[in-house]
Amino acid sequence: MPCRVLRAMIRFENVTKVYDQKARPALDSVNLEIDRGEFAFLVGASGSGKSTFLRLVLKEDRATSGAVYVAGQNVAKISSWRVPRLRRGIGVVFQDFRLLPQKNVFANVAFAMQVIGKSRSVIRDTVPEVLKTVGLEGKEHRMPHELSGGEQQRVAIARAVVNRPGILLADEPTGNLDPTTSMGIMGVLDKINQNGTTVVMATHDDDIVNEMRKRVVELKNGVVIRDEARALYTSIIPVVGQSRRLKDASGRDDDTENRLPGEGEAQR
């Protein structure tokens, strides 16, 4: 068992998250394992629990029941003053980039290293290297507003991975970008994944998922209804190992059926 826990970079054991006692749970006894070095898409309609999943990995929220393991550690057992260390091992990218507008590209990426006390010389060496990885060499001194959306997202990715986290969480990173630019971003994420970083990407973008042919975890109403390797965005035949859960989920379908497919995730 410990060996399995270690192999899994992220492991959810029967995790339930309830925000509001009266509403249905955001996540409902989810069992999931994402291995070291894996690339996984998290798909599903808005409100299906994708963001909650990411928040639980980051220990932004506490699971109502069940256990979340990140890199073999039960996050519930991490004391609050050690949470920063957990987060140093996880990079995060958002739909809205979240760059600092008054800092240039170099400073935005360097910021992530400064705040955890990296020395100036290490920062000088590492930042250009990472910018090269994301395809932004030569743009160190541009300001965010001088960059295209795709370039801004590359800066955000550079910032997320500059401290070499074991996990990269991407919450709809292509949500604001056109299809061509999105494919460029996917290339960057794929490259980072090839370097050994576990990537979990929540998305609505079916083209990208279909193009990449990676593992797809589909959530619906907080329940995993599909977990397929090298899969497409929508499955022709829903294949679910746990048939009981499928029945549960399909029994509660109605409330989400009317939602627009492209509706944005609720912002925090």
Binding site: W81, P84, R87, R88, F111, V115, I116, R159
Partner: protein, 304 residues
């Protein structure tokens, strides 16, 4: 590196919030000036009490060479007269009213005088000869001053009998009242200062929520995230406290030292140097108030 980073964060925070920071400085300045003024009044009271005030209530001054009082027509007090006064003080008729008494010679009087008036130019023009010797009496009941006065005023060799308390008590009660008022105003102003610091820190945290959000995500420690905000408040308050200390020093130096001591040469005033012992107290008070109020505000408004 982390220190340099924190310092640069503080700098940018202070610049961004300049008007709020200035108001924090001014409010702490005013409130701590009132705290310091109360302290200064108490110091002044102690200065005026001199060596004897808290130990005795009544002083019997003996005739010296220059005495012009009616009882001193026979010239300065003789050792025999002094001896009989001593005997009278020890006699049961008098000793039932007093706890104890002490004799202060001219030399001792000079020494105490020098201590009390060390800040005044008068000290240089006085010699031990000019100061009368005295008996200093600690009364069992200070209200019985009249008995001592009646008994000793007419004795040969006695220049005058003085109830020190009566001379200074009224002045001291005015000064104590003034320090109470100062403390009251200071209390209100300190509440203002605390609330203003809390608001400033809250605004500052709000205007930098992007940065702090990112800091949190990349795993910055709580200290690195919070310290710039706390220090921002503390620095502003410490500047205010330093201004208050400088003001108190200036009041002691220019108003008391140069103006009042000319106007009232026979009153002992505190020196400007003495007010400097208030400075560290004010700075610590200001700094810790700001630190605590910033910390409590951040707990509520800065999610870490």
């Amino acid at each position: 590196m982390r220190l340099a980073f924190i310092l640069s964060e503080i700098g940018s925070g202070l610049r961004r919030n300049l008007s709020m920071v200035i108001s924090v400085i001014l409010v702490t300045f005013v409130s701590l000036t009132f705290v310091g003024a109360a302290g200064m009044l108490q110091m002044q009271i102690n200065q005026m009490k001199g060596y004897w005030y808290d130990k005795v209530q009544v002083a019997i001054f003996l005739c010296s060479e220059g005495s012009t009082a009616a009882g001193c027509a026979g010239g300065p007090v003789t050792p025999e007269q002094q001896e009989s006064l001593n005997a009278l003080l020890e006699s049961p008729a008098v000793s039932q009213y007093i706890n104890d008494f002490q004799f202060e010679s001219k030399e001792e009087a000079y020494k105490h005088f020098k201590d009390q008036f060390s800040n005044s130019p008068i000290v240089d023009s006085v010699t031990p000869d000019q100061l009368p010797a005295s008996f200093r009496i600690n009364m069992k009941d200070p209200e019985k001053y009249q008995i001592i006065s009646e008994t000793f005023s007419s004795q040969p060799g006695v220049e005058t009998v003085i109830d020190q308390r009566q001379l200074l008590e009224r002045l001291f009660s005015v000064m104590n009242g003034a320090s109470l008022v100062a403390v009251g105003i200071a209390g209100v102003m300190i509440v203002c200062a605390i609330l203003l610091i809390a608001t400033t820190i809250r605004l500052s945290a709000f205007s930098r929520r992007r940065e702090t959000g990112i800091m949190r995500l990349v795993g910055a420690s709580k200290t690195v995230i919070q310290l710039p905000f706390i220090l921002e408040g503390v620095i502003a308050a410490v500047i205010g406290a330093a201004l208050a200390s400088a003001t108190l020093w200036a009041v002691a130096h220019f108003f008391l030292g140069e103006y009042m001591s000319q106007q009232y040469p026979d009153t002992a005033f505190i020196s400007s140097g003495q007010t400097l012992i208030l400075a560290p107290a004010l700075i610590i008070l200001g700094g810790s108030l700001a630190g605590i109020s910033s910390l409590l505000t951040l707990r509520r408004y800065l999610h870490v």
